[in-house]
């Protein structure tokens, strides 16, 4: 496609290739040229040979064609009357030390310079030592351009002490909550739900009661899978949930939460015909072959799994009421356990106590985490803010909320404010447990260099018009937060990348540096892109870069969070993020990890991928 003068300038050092036939005598203008962003595809498919091509910057200074040539002809010295000397290529790419590369391939997004509108004007001089000069731009009415020197105290209602902290203030604890851990090493199905010592008894009939309460659920059965039985066949895993309850009348994110260690709830479901309740693949198969142990959203190896298996009406596997009914039926059982936890557990049984603190760091770069959650309807939904951690009661489905952005504080997130109904590709799905242990929130709140202001959840609606509706609201919300940087994460890939990239654009165009997180790799390359999508962390862990149906394999882990934080810090400092190689390669991540280890003087432990699991027949046949 023909390009604009602005694009031509950005690509001054890229080859000049005519987009269309042009006749002898034509004075070349940007409109004559094809967008260099698509050259690699053309070269790959043998449509373009760039040997000897002059650069765009060399031929836009009054050069005229001396020959009539066809579309996709590179401009070479023999077909123009004159051209400028090539500019020093070395100067154009400063050898910065801490540059972190973006990971996934963005199909068509031309790499753009940092936006100048609003925010800061960043000057970067990359000679030897980095010198970054930031000038408050003060342009663009309404665009939040906080002067770098004086950062106002965080305006958090609950935090009176925060008012005292000015400028380079001490870290301020805005709020805190306690998690009390109770050990369970045996789960028995029986006639009564209770906890005795470290044994959890579950009333088996509660499951059928849960099913009876839901018209669409034919049956709900429980069984207990202990570590020695991990080689058990299971239908697709719809969710992994922590079993936790609030003490007294505390709300999520405050007071005390009791949680059972060593045991998790696993929700599975099929229709009467045996169709898996899932969309892009399903994780059915032997648990030990299809569970990526110890991912934030997955089962930790060694834990006891309580499996709640539902059978629902035919054809309801892809309709919203189906999964909602399953989750609601399962919660009937879980709630009975929660009630037993309230009743039976005593402080003597506590094996571990954690105090979770929401910390603000006045004077540090303010950042916000935006988590895109699925909201296309069908099985793509999430319950927001239940009364109990990862409960159902009291929650509102984000689809019903219109998928508009909703703000949460980090403790609410870690206390189970998201009950995930999503059943997208198993490998990239964020289970309910993922939010409970969200690594990005964890790493951001523990990072002394940044001031995490909060977490925003925004749904991913089905229709494109709705997608842009919610992302515009998100942009406005982020603008009003006055932040210096933002993360946008998503789960799954494909359809939701439309709003994912739109979120990034809406935030980016307000002058706020953004780093995105998504599974992309080989299979999930972005379907759309824009110039703000230049800093991306790929959550892929799989060897082949695919959705391999291994539960939680390609979800956001601590190592990704650390990479993202390093990238955002670099971007906020005005560093350029290098474009990734065109084809997905693990090398990008590896070299970034190396850079981070060098810069921070620490060693990053990387998690295993599916190769650490016994090979399943399915994986053998379909993937590896």
């Amino acid at each position: 496609m023909s390009i604009t003068a602005e694009t031509a300038k950005q690509h001054a050092n890229d080859p000049a290739v005519l987009c269309c036939r042009a006749e002898a005598g034509t004075e070349l203008t940007p409109a004559n040229f094809e967008d260099p962003a698509i050259f690699p595809d053309l070269v790959d498919s043998g449509l373009l040979n760039l040997d000897g091509a002059l650069k765009l910057g060399q031929v836009l200074n009054g050069s005229k064609l001396t020959k009539t040539v066809d579309s996709l002809t590179p401009i070479t010295a023999d077909i123009v009357d004159k051209f400028d000397a090539a500019e020093g290529a070395e100067e154009a790419a400063p050898a910065a030390e801490e540059v972190v590369e973006a990971a996934p391939a963005v199909a068509a997004a031309p790499v753009a310079a940092a936006p100048a509108a609003g925010g800061y004007i960043s000057l970067h001089i990359g000679e030897g030592k980095n010198i970054d000069i930031q000038i408050p731009a003060g342009i663009g009415g309404g665009v939040a351009a906080a002067p770098a020197a004086a950062v106002a105290a965080p305006a958090v209602a609950a935090a009176a002490p925060a008012a005292a902290a000015e400028e380079e203030g001490e870290a301020v604890v805005v709020r805190e909550m306690t998690r009390k851990h109770y050990k369970i090493d045996k789960v028995v199905l029986g006639d009564e739900t209770k906890i005795e010592g470290t044994t959890l008894y579950i009333r088996e009939a509660a499951a059928q009661e849960g099913a009876d309460g839901q018209k669409l659920v034919h049956s709900l059965t429980l069984d207990v899978i202990t570590p020695d039985n991990y080689h058990t066949y299971t239908e697709t895993v719809m969710d992994i949930q922590p079993i936790a309850t609030k003490e007294d009348d505390y709300e999520l994110g405050e007071g005390v939460t009791r949680v059972l260690d060593g045991v998790v709830m696993m929700v599975t479901g099929i229709t009467e015909e045996g169709i898996q309740v899932g969309e892009f693949g399903s994780s059915e198969g032997y648990i030990d072959e299809n569970m990526m142990w110890n991912r934030p959203g997955a089962v930790d190896k060694g834990e006891i799994i309580i499996r709640a298996h539902a059978v629902i009406d035919n054809k309801k596997n892809m309709e919203r009421p189906g999964p909602i009914a399953i989750h609601t039926a399962v919660d009937h059982v879980t709630q009975e356990i929660r009630n037993a936890m309230k009743k039976d557990l005593t402080d003597e049984q506590v094996v571990d106590t954690q105090v979770l603190k929401q910390v603000r760091r006045p004077g540090k770069k303010k950042i916000v985490i935006v988590k895109e959650i699925m909201g296309q309807g069908a099985m793509h939904d999430n319950f927001l803010f239940p009364t109990e951690p990862v409960g159902v009661l009291g929650a509102k489905p984000n689809v019903d909320l219109g998928n508009v952005p909703v703000a949460a504080n980090p403790l609410e997130v870690m206390d189970g404010c998201i009950h995930a109904l999503t059943c997208i590709g198993p490998a990239s799905k964020e289970m309910s447990r993922h939010y409970w242990r969200e690594p990005l929130v964890y790493e951001a709140i523990h990072d002394d260099d940044v001031d995490l202001v909060g977490v925003i959840f925004v749904g991913s609606p089905q229709a494109n018009t709705d997608k842009f509706y919610v992302s515009r609201r998100l942009g406005q919300m982020v603008e009003s937060m006055n932040v210096d940087g933002a993360f946008v994460t998503t789960e799954g890939f494909g359809n939701n990348h439309v709003d994912f990239t739109s979120h990034i654009e809406q935030i980016g165009k307000r002058g706020v540096p953004v780093v995105g997180f998504s599974f992309c790799a080989v299979q999930g390359a972005l379907v759309t892109g824009n110039k703000y999508c230049d800093a991306m962390v790929d959550n892929n862990k799989s060897m082949s870069g695919i959705e391999n149906e291994v539960l939680a394999c390609n979800t956001l882990c601590h190592e990704d969070a650390i990479r993202g934080l390093a990238m955002l810090k670099a971007k906020m400092a005005g560093e350029t993020i290098k474009a990734p190689e065109r084809k997905y390669t693990h090398a990008v991540k590896e070299s970034n990890v190396e850079l981070i280890e060098k810069a921070y003087g620490t060693k990053m432990e990387l998690v295993d991928n599916e190769q650490a699991l016994p090979m399943s027949e399915k994986r053998k046949a379909k993937y590896d």
Binding site: M1, C20, R21, A31, D35, I38, S71
Partner: protein, 459 residues
């Protein structure tokens, strides 16, 4: 003689008129039978006969056996009044009322400020011949018409835009223009879409108008040559617009030559015209297009022609793509998405992906206009998308320049390219729209040979 069907909406734009006759009324040629209710023009009977039916969208007239040449004259008045009274509308396609185009509607201030009347004699759609034939037969009448319109619209200058290939006709015009300094001619290359309104403005005046701008933004009015003749008939002969010239061509018995019919009564059926041309070729046909191959629509045998109809094209039969994945490239020069989808269905393809030409700007009313008619913005990105979507075929409706660009990469990627006009072009013996070998510029000196026609020929 078959019944004549006078549609209450004669142009593509505007509102239907209201009948002013009743069933049983006797009408003559030129009897006013319907008047505008909004944007529109008077409709007059094109035959002597009796109103036999009034439907929601049309008045049906049973013609008498005897059809004398005389017609009911419109009343005398100012030139503008007579153009309005005669129900003249644009015969280049959309059928916009001419009296509105050339008059500002409010006061005596003309619509142009010492501007230009640009006469579109490009006969832009391939295979048509009736416009040039009309000019060739009586060029002086065209010039008189241009002067009438210049006077009404407040123009100082008239420019006739005509393709350079019509040398004989141009020579006749030149002979008259020698003594008419207010009017000149501008030669156009033989590529599509030279007749697009804004392309005419650009070629003649060098002004590139935005897609949402009218020629008035360039102090110009663009008017089709046949419309100018209709204005002359209204002014000099007090004749309402009741008949018109058109080209019937394609899979017609006897060959692919153009059948130009003059003074065809408005309301005549497609079937009657095809029969008059010789009937269908026995090898069969694909579809019947009312209008040109690019911008016309598929029609039926019983459909009547309107004042704005320029052609009836009968295409070659469709070949069967056996459900192959087909991409659609929608641009502003050819069919809209609906038309393209219709064609894919007729080819028995399966729509696998739709792209829009980068320059096909969407207008508030949902139609598309090209930002730079005839100058391609590049198409390879679309081709990559088609390829990615697994398309085996793509169907395009692009102009000469854009088709050329599509061809520069499509076939190399393994995409089989179909142009929406292919079956019509084969049927009329016109080169297919594929590669472009001729220059988009022609020398204004008629004797300078600058275009060598070596486009791909018909298979």
């Amino acid at each position: 003689m078959e019944n004549i069907q006078m549609l209450l909406k004669q142009g593509a734009v505007g509102k239907p008129c209201a009948p002013v006759v009743a069933v049983g009324d006797k009408v003559k040629k030129g009897t006013l039978i319907a008047t505008p209710t909004g944007l529109g023009v008077n409709v007059h009977s094109s035959v002597y006969g009796e109103v036999v039916e009034i439907l929601e969208d049309r008045i049906v007239i049973k013609p008498d056996e005897e059809q004398p040449d005389e017609y009911v004259k419109i009343p005398k008045g100012s030139n503008l009044e007579m153009i309005k009274e005669a129900g003249v509308l644009g015969q280049g396609g959309a059928g916009f009322p001419t009296f509105i185009k050339i008059y500002n509607g409010k006061d005596d201030k003309p619509v142009l400020d010492h501007g230009y009347i640009l006469v579109n004699a490009s006969e832009c759609e391939p295979g048509l011949a009736h416009n040039i034939q009309q000019i060739d037969e009586d060029p002086a009448r065209l010039l008189r018409g241009i002067h009438y319109i210049m006077e009404i619209a407040g123009a100082d200058k008239g420019i006739i835009a005509i393709k350079k290939k019509h040398r004989e006709t141009i020579l006749k015009l030149d002979a008259l223009l020698k003594d008419d300094p207010a009017i000149e001619r501008h030669l156009l290359p033989d590529i599509y879409p030279m007749g697009e309104e804004r392309a005419v403005v650009r070629e003649c005046l060098g002004i590139e108008l935005e897609p949402d701008k009218l020629p008035s933004a360039a102090n110009a009015v663009v008017i089709n040559s046949e419309t100018v003749y209709s204005c002359v008939s209204a002014i000099e002969d007090q004749k309402p617009l009741i008949d018109k010239n058109l080209t019937v061509r394609g899979m017609i018995k006897g060959g692919s030559e153009a059948h130009v019919f003059e003074n065809v009564p408005v309301g005549t059926s497609v079937q009657a015209l095809i029969e008059r041309a010789g009937g269908f070729d026995e090898r069969g046909y694909g579809e019947i297009i009312m209008g040109g191959a690019f911008t016309g629509k598929a029609t039926t045998l019983d459909a009547p022609i309107t004042k704005a109809t320029g052609a009836i094209l009968v295409t070659r039969p469709f070949r069967d793509l056996h459900g192959a994945k087909t991409g659609i490239l929608v641009c502003a020069c050819g069919g809209n998405l609906e038309r393209m989808e219709d064609l894919v269905a007729k080819y028995n393809g399966t729509v696998a992906h739709v792209c829009y030409c980068k320059q096909a700007a969407e207008m508030p009313n949902g139609t598309r206009k090209c930002e730079r008619p005839g100058n391609c913005p590049g198409q390879v990105k679309n081709n990559l998308e088609f390829k990615k979507a697994g398309c085996e075929y793509i169907i395009i409706g692009n102009c000469s320049d854009c088709s050329n660009t599509v061809m520069a990469s499509g076939p190399k990627m393994g995409l089989k390219v179909i142009h929406m006009t292919d079956l019509a072009m084969m049927a009329v013996g016109h080169p297919l729209y594929r590669t472009l070998k001729v220059s988009k510029k022609v020398d204004q000196d008629l004797d300078v040979v600058d275009n060598v026609e070596d486009n791909e020929t018909v298979q």
